[in-house]
Point group: D3
């Protein structure tokens, strides 16, 4: 299917909103690397560093403070973003629990207005294992709506209606998350794996998300059909939350 | 989004399975005309003529038999298909209630094997107002699965995994039907309107489905955004039931 | 809310489709007695006698045949219908499993055409404990659709769109059944209890469904509000599956 | 169906909670005019003026401030309310994003206590295109619950359990909104159209919502049946969120 | 089914989070008494006293203040907890509306860390009749997640993944609450009934929840099957929200 | 949680209903081997051999007939069952499409009556990729209901209410299948892997389902908590469709 997009002379952009500093790597690293390789300016917003809830290995080795954990996670995230070809912003809003003030929300609105992204990625709308994840998606969607309003900073170019995708959570079925979109990431897999390995404190997840990529690759092939010439080995799965507007159904 | 499709040297095809002889006009006439204009071979399968349940005006004027009503509906459907640029097959299985034998199912499997369509359209999976409609979709999906089996007529080219779309039912919300795909049909609207007017016995629906096309046009524009250069006046809405496999999320 | 109904000079009627011979008593006995007392002609169709699956006590006492059990259940059902003020028809299609041929379906269509009921009651659309119950509702809805078709027995008065209600299953939540309608049956409770007691073989259910009626009574009061002058002690709950057309929202 | 209502010697009232100043016109203008014509005191609460998110035309013509836009929207809303026969209160809480403090919530509780409405209308519980709309419904429901509490302003007459309806959102299916109630507004259509035309800045919506009224009219007729004497040309559709308590199922 | 649990030398514990001071009695009194009798330390957290919304009888008799109502409800709750064999903590956060600050959330996190409960009970995730109930469950789940985080009070023993159950709301189907777990409380019914009777101001609920226990008892028996030797007369129903990890499927 | 089961002096049994001859291996091989090792008599019913739809490799190598493919699949299934420690019955009903006559249904009822199983495993209730799978579960549930009926072969011991589980489909989220039960199969993994390798024609699935077992192992551990002493490496996931009756919530 070929979709209708606004015409634009700008460099195309994509926005990724990550609750914690590593989420964008496991869940959207392939999409980031792929679109970067296609010439997109990819921007990652990390709402927090995941310093309390997603840094278990650092805490277990002892001698840490919140600030030292945040610094370590920031370094890893910067390295991963560099490998994937993305820019990154840290909102540093705290985690477990993440709390997003209206001021932070408006900061995200301004990111939208600055980028005018062609697509937006964030977390699943539900996640019983992690209250920060659905909040990140909720804020991502609310900021998108405000960025579409003529009355917010009148005179600025307003946002159109870029598609919104929920990337894959850790336990998909518990989150009522179902993929309607498979993205072939075979050609950028090495870069995604490199970014994954930058997450030094979470080695157990390296293997988990490599298996996820292989499973999604098998499923993607099955959804094209065996007559396809193209080979897919690794894929990422997404749940698109917004309707498509298309010129063809094929 | 650009999707991955099997490479093919054949002329591309599309399959539309219609429970009654007029359904393909109201619900998918724009898609048929648009893809025909793009060079697709479009094939409509009418499972019945809608002779009992969707020919009220004919029955009310009196002097009809089942055979005369079927003949009248066949003529209208042929005329509409010609206007839209589609071929048509009549399975003549009866309506209210439609019943599909395994023999008829296998006939549909053979249509799949013959066409190897790039996409498939049929009714919503639920419709409390019409038991024939969901049955048509159920059969459409079951036949697609069998056409994918290596063990059915071994040696024949098997079917890949063409996307399946449910076209718009009369009362969408009662059918738990929600559109995730809008197709711009502005350029072929005249042809769809012509086909609609071929349905001489259902004038009240001409206006209803013209308004549907205008409403879907407004919604399609809203889902691209006001920055879009392209104008959309008329659209058709579809609920895609199968996942997409894509090379880009934009 | 006052609803819009077709004008009619006929005596008003209501149709109840019961999978087994006792279902109409536990689940809709209050509605039957209430509408009968309001002058409605109430018609119960029993698709089976419940001879295999809902006659445990008879089988356990021994010395029974299928025919003797059917005769016993018929007698109880006739007695209950008489107490409630309803007519009753037995389709005798067998149970566990119930199977409905197209011939039996058409017999039900003819009941619709004969009665032109103002409302229709049958089982919940899902029931993991009883496959006969959802089938009864499915047939009830399909027959209603066919009875609306001009091309079925042309010249006969066709059916309008009477509301369809699912009455209360044994374990409501397991059936995804949720009541949107509470019917006050306080004034006919004695008759319902009398009909319940006609079900000699199922005493354990007498108490169960008396408690159901009390619980639904409490809930009905809560949904009017404590300012209501009217007292409700016993109620039946229904899940209306069809939309209302009304002249007022109050 | 005739419903059970608390007896009352007061003039009957209805409450409409609108997130922005025009929502009540498009979505509930017919219900407001109809009940006003039936003698109800109809009260509209506008939580905001829609000054940022729903005043695009004003902002595009330039030279506006938030205050001038609010004043213009207030004037339009007052004119529309006058045409429909309703009173109106402006809470002026801001939009995009709307935020409702506990103080504003309690102000709405007091509106309930003052009016003791027979029914309540607000937005759909979900709307991915507009975060203010679901918030309005959420607040409407929470305030209703508090107004039912004996311990809030003890001694005041507490609220009963008036039915709550979600009026029609712009893209119904995307909001998981499904109508279970159709209200015939044919006789007050001229007034609704007049109120619609008072929304000078949103002409594109005049046509959209006129078509909505016509489509809902067709659907309403279909849900009564063709035997109905009554003609319905225009209707509004509602999703009732609360159960009915009734004296008849017909 | 036998489940896998962390090994522990501590006395086993269970946590119950109750929005108002009586909820734990009606909805989980049997589970509390049963586990207390099995040697568990049972801890009830009452987020509020239900002083505004669930103390109607006290307010109606007049001469009350918020403080006197709170004191009365506290006394009743203490008495009920004593009968059931539970400890109780009052967070006194107010009701109608309940509001939970991050400080209160963290107080609940510390309760988790202190108890390390083997299971957790709170309200249904939805309740259109009571906004405080779903908030209590939401807080219960968020606090559980934070208590699992290594970075919260590093060095403390973190929480594992105790199962979370939603106990039964007043109108189950309206809350989309469906029981997947029945607990036999026959042997502790006398204690539950005693605790119920400690709720002096809510006599109408004594009968209601006694009938609930009887209905759930009947259903529990039906889900074991009639070949069961064991007799169940009274039961409580729960909706487990978390997956089980088991060593056997029987 | 410890569940309540009927007391029995018989050897315990488990029933697995597999649409095609290999399904029981990929999806339930661990459960079969584990319960066999616990002393259960495990019975597999294969409704078909998967000769048309799940034997692609055999067909592609050429020179096959339906009978030769069925024989090959039978041999593999026998070998796998032997490795897992299960008995196996072949109903040979055909596949793509599978059709189950009432006679075959009754044959399955008799298997239930003969085994009186403690638990039952079959396919997911939905599967858009495979129409045979949901049919297998539907038949499994209907046969269970009939086996509970006193009036079917009166005098025989009737079935109680054994729990029913849906094992894992190929693409879980597309099937609306969500696991609520994880079974630790680490100790029998070698046997499951051995049975998997008996499926000579489907090597690509060996790797796929080994990764599934590893992913489910990780998830199972996460749902016990990191304080668990027990190590889980491989797991199977199940969706239990029936409620539990328990003596403890821990």
């Amino acid at each position: 299917m070929s979709t209708l997009s606004p015409t634009s002379t700008h460099r195309k952009t994509g926005l990724v909103v990550s609750a914690h500093s590593a989420d964008f790597v496991w869940r959207a690293g392939g999409a980031i690397a792929l679109h970067a390789s296609q010439g997109y300016r990819m921007m990652v917003v990390c709402l927090s560093f995941g310093e309390r809830g997603e840094s278990a290995k650092l805490w277990r080795k002892g001698g840490q403070t919140i600030e030292s954990v945040k610094a370590a996670r920031r370094d890893e995230a910067l390295e991963a973003a560099a490998i994937l070809g993305a820019e990154i912003q840290f909102f540093d809003l705290g985690d477990y629990p993440l709390r997003v003030s209206d001021e932070a929300l408006m900061r995200l609105v301004d990111v939208y207005r600055d980028l005018l992204p062609s697509f937006v990625l964030s977390h699943s709308a539900e996640d019983p294992y992690n209250a920060d994840h659905p909040l990140a998606m909720s804020v991502t969607r609310e900021a998108r709506i405000i960025a579409q309003a003529e009355g917010y900073k009148p005179g600025q170019q307003i946002l159109g209606a870029p598609p919104v995708y929920a990337f894959e959570p850790h336990q998909t079925e518990q989150c009522n998350w179902s993929p309607n979109t498979f993205l072939d990431i075979t050609e950028v897999w090495d870069r995604k794996r490199g970014a994954i390995e930058a997450m030094a404190g979470q080695e157990h997840l390296w293997h988990y998300y490599t298996r996820v990529a292989l499973q999604r690759g098998v499923q993607a092939k099955r959804n094209i059909g065996i007559t396809a010439a193209r080979n897919i080995e690794y894929a990422e799965a997404y749940m698109q939350l917004t309707p498509n507007v298309v010129e063809s159904l094929a």
